[in-house]
Assembly symmetry: C2
Homo-oligomer: 199 residues x 2
Amino acid sequence: MSERADAARNRRAILRAAEELLAAHDARDGARDGAHDGARGAHISLDQVAAHAQVGKGTVFRRFGSRTGLMQALLQERAAQLREALESGPPPLGPGAPPAERIVAFLDALCRLAADNLALLAAHERSCAPDRHADPTYVRWHTHLQTLITQARPDLDAGFVAHTLLGMFDADMVRRLTPRADPGRFARSMRQLVGELLA
Amino acid sequence: MSERADAARNRRAILRAAEELLAAHDARDGARDGAHDGARGAHISLDQVAAHAQVGKGTVFRRFGSRTGLMQALLQERAAQLREALESGPPPLGPGAPPAERIVAFLDALCRLAADNLALLAAHERSCAPDRHADPTYVRWHTHLQTLITQARPDLDAGFVAHTLLGMFDADMVRRLTPRADPGRFARSMRQLVGELLA
DNA sequence: TAATATACGGACCGACAGTCCGATTGCGCA
DNA sequence: TGCGCAATCGGACTGTCGGTCCGTATATTA
């Protein structure tokens, strides 16, 4: 036995509470359209999360270690499905398709994931700012891309390119480049750029 | 008259103090080589800056409005020379050369600027995280790139590509991709990637 | 030199990440 | 079923920091 029942229950409660607060932010912020609204940032404090989860603050820290830990756990959860698809799903997302196609499929999937989780992404960025490159999910994505890029374009600096491509998914950038009038712009421009690189 | 003499003196003192603290961080952190050292971040508190500048905290806020304001001022100062060169210097950095060359020259200049001001860049990122896209220096750089890209490759989404290219200059990324053993890697990989895009 | 707009400094505030410890409770075991 | 302990809980507490306030000091100008 590695985790007591109440502990597991609280872990779930905390994750769900964080999601709900994030979603609330998303809704509230999303309501504002048009030009950017300056001081962005889904700032949910851990006190809020604890209160919303009906749990003591200490519990949050015992379960997740820190704000960063909570955010990483949250992102990991949301990314689980994608991870599964990458590792053992059908091509082109999963193994089996030529690398260039897998890259495009992966980035498309990231677009969707980003669009559906803007607030989480923003909060995650903010918390992990110190070195987002240490986040397990980021590392996994980076490794995946790097491998594929190495196969598709052995002449490029795959690590560098992978970082650059992942850099596109900055929450603020996604938001800015996803205007109401043309919600497909981000994905389209992204695909075009990747096309250039793999051509 | 727009600013009293003592006010101007203090403004300079604060800027210099911030630079010195940042440099101290840089030195201390830079001493560590090899693998990443986790919790990065040139975190200089405004209390520290005020103390180091031998000035009251209130003065810092009166002059710069906020932490973000201070960071923006700092970056603007460091970027002044580059700005000058872009607007009225000799080609290819300044006007007169073909857009593709100007883009490369500009990004090369950014490489140098980034390398020389890693700590500032990191601190700036951290403070302006909410929306770095509102920073005057960032906006200037983005506009510059966007214009040139539009000329060089009218078929691309210039705004998107410009953001992506600027995204490469994330302090953490620069640091990671500038190993002691091969300090030219970042600039080289960057040039290669840009070459692909403009080809 | 007097009058006034400006600037100064540092005490003060509220928010928040993270810590601590006495009270509580799930759970294996007899 | 009931015991006992280890794990968990909760929320008070701490230290830090960005930002505000206001009584005092000073540059400036006439």
